[in-house]
Amino acid sequence: MNFQSKIVMIFGEVRTNGRIHPATFELTAKGRELGEALSDNSRVSVILTCGKLEDDAHLPINYGADEVILVEHPSLSFPNPEVAVKVLVTLIRERNPEILLSPATPQGRCVFPAVAAKCRTGLTADCTGLEIEKETGLLLQTRPAIGGNVIATIKTPNHRPQMATVRPKTFPVPEPRPRKGEIVRPSLPQECFQSLADTLDFVPFQDRQASVRDAEVVIAGGKGLRRSEGFSLLRELADLLGGSVGATRPTVEAKWIPYAHQVGLSGQAVSPKVYLAAGISGAVQHLAGMQTSRKIVSVNKDPEAPIHRIADIALCGDLYEILPQLIQRIREERGTLDVEI
């Protein structure tokens, strides 16, 4: 056991509406666990950068942070990687964290590589596992590689901080409990907030659905839907469960649904609690983006479809018969619950 003070830093995410992204809490809790494995005297700092925070800055503390470093500035009202990079690099130089983590959201995937390059350190993308190696105290970072065919374990032996982006929903989010901690508003040089690129416009997506990566349940469709309207059936089911709609590449290429919904090697990698694949054959490139899901349900009329082989529940049949039945069953389920209450 090491008694030296070690800092685990989390680059939290604040949405454009000023609310903290839940992946921040997930990583804060994980950061606490890693910190405790690292040293008896570790500190977890959560950095929040935004235009103006509309949430309680104390929230991350209840998930295990010792300190919230709050950086509010008008230049950060919209995603501003240039400024975020400068803020992070300044804070890293000041505080020398051992470990620096970010959710593998577009923000983290954009900002972290530039931070790593500026700090001349290593960065592991889209991790699905983090652990401290007992003998060395090094961070073991695991991530699926080559389309999920292998799981690579990576470490950064000689460079600091050890940096990783982490796929949201990888770790459980514990119940928050009241804890003590500090909220710090560092004074940073004005130069930090200058950027060469300015935001002209930000158009939020109309559908209120969570992005596929953030959803607890993903209802995904493939060519088996046969037409773009098929996605409204999936959306109905997703809305009912508070989830999001996923898609295979050919459906995106056919312009049935925007790219943001594509799951797989050249799309998003997701690990929701439940992934329902309807009319999807289960090509390796699709599996690459979803096979780490907690539970998988497949609906495909071809009993030999590869998707059935990796599913927990395989339903062999026509999706246009099965999904309406499922929707009906969920409605009934909700109905009986209402009656019981």
Partner: protein, 261 residues
């Protein structure tokens, strides 16, 4: 406009093997192709350079990466640079970015650098932003639209989780692009013929003036220490025909266990 495009040759099939000794990929004996998103970057570059300018493609890789560069030349790129040296082998994204940045400095300056948002083999999406940080130029990821505002500025749209961000970028800058950006063209017969007449320059580590410690596996801050072949063994329960109703009961149970109902 002088545009540089970063392209990576990636395996075309799913049968990629790993070297159990070094934990890096074995690239021999697998069909290879240009990373699909890099072709979108190339298409955008060709479009932007139409009004005057040039497109240079860069790739770091083993000698056979030349095939990928030829493919880009046949699509219309003007010239190509291959960064190839035994010392580059085993590079992680940082060491790759250091090498590419050195080559861009040596052959530049460029007004614009385009990359794919991520490669299908490394899947890190890190090389683009790392190159930009090393060159100290502004950058954007997740780019789905690029338009010229004037000689000095681009208007760029980024597809983020929450919405579409439109930003004005000064030149030079680096953009990592997604497939929504454009439709890729197929090479023409004439393109194929022309490709053989166009130059491919090869730079070694020495030519780039990079120390051995900065490149390849030696220069990489990260180390792959273990490779596991996961087997996602799930006990599949299969339901068909009249059993579907029972299958749906199980789906409801799963949803309830996941607190979704």
């Amino acid at each position: 406009m002088k545009v540089a495009v970063l392209i990576k040759q990636v395996p075309d099939t799913d049968e990629v093997k790993m070297d159990p000794e070094t934990g890096t990929m074995i690239r021999e004996g697998v069909d290879r192709t240009v990373n699909p998103l890099d072709l979108h970057a190339l298409e955008a570059a060709l479009c932007l350079a139409k009004k005057g300018g040039s497109v240079t493609v860069f790739s770091m890789g083993p000698p056979q990466a030349e095939e990928a560069l030829r493919e880009c030349l046949s699509l219309g790129a003007d010239d190509a640079v291959l960064l190839s040296d035994r010392a580059f082998a085993g590079a992680d994204s940082w060491a790759t970015a250091v090498t590419i940045a050195a080559a861009l400095r040596l052959s530049g300056p460029f007004d614009l650098i385009l990359a794919g948002d991520k490669a299908t083999d490394g899947e890190t999406g890190q090389v683009g932003p790392e190159v930009a940080a090393i060159l100290e130029i502004p950058f954007a990821t997740h780019v789905i639209d690029i338009a010229c505002q004037d000689d000095q500025h681009l208007v760029v749209s980024r597809n983020l989780d929450e919405g579409i961000q439109k930003q004005r970028f000064p030149l030079p800058c680096l953009l990592s692009v997604l497939s929504d950006l454009n439709e890729i063209q197929l090479p023409t017969l004439e393109g194929f013929r022309n490709a053989w007449r166009k130059p491919i320059r090869t730079f070694s580590r020495e030519a780039l003036g990079l120390p051995r410690e900065a490149v390849g596996l030696t220069g990489s801050p990260t180390r792959v220490v273990r490779i596991d072949h996961p087997r996602f063994t799930r006990k599949t329960e299969k339901y068909a025909g009249t059993e579907i109703a029972r299958g749906l009961d199980r789906v409801i149970e799963i949803l309830r266990e996941a607190a979704l109902l």
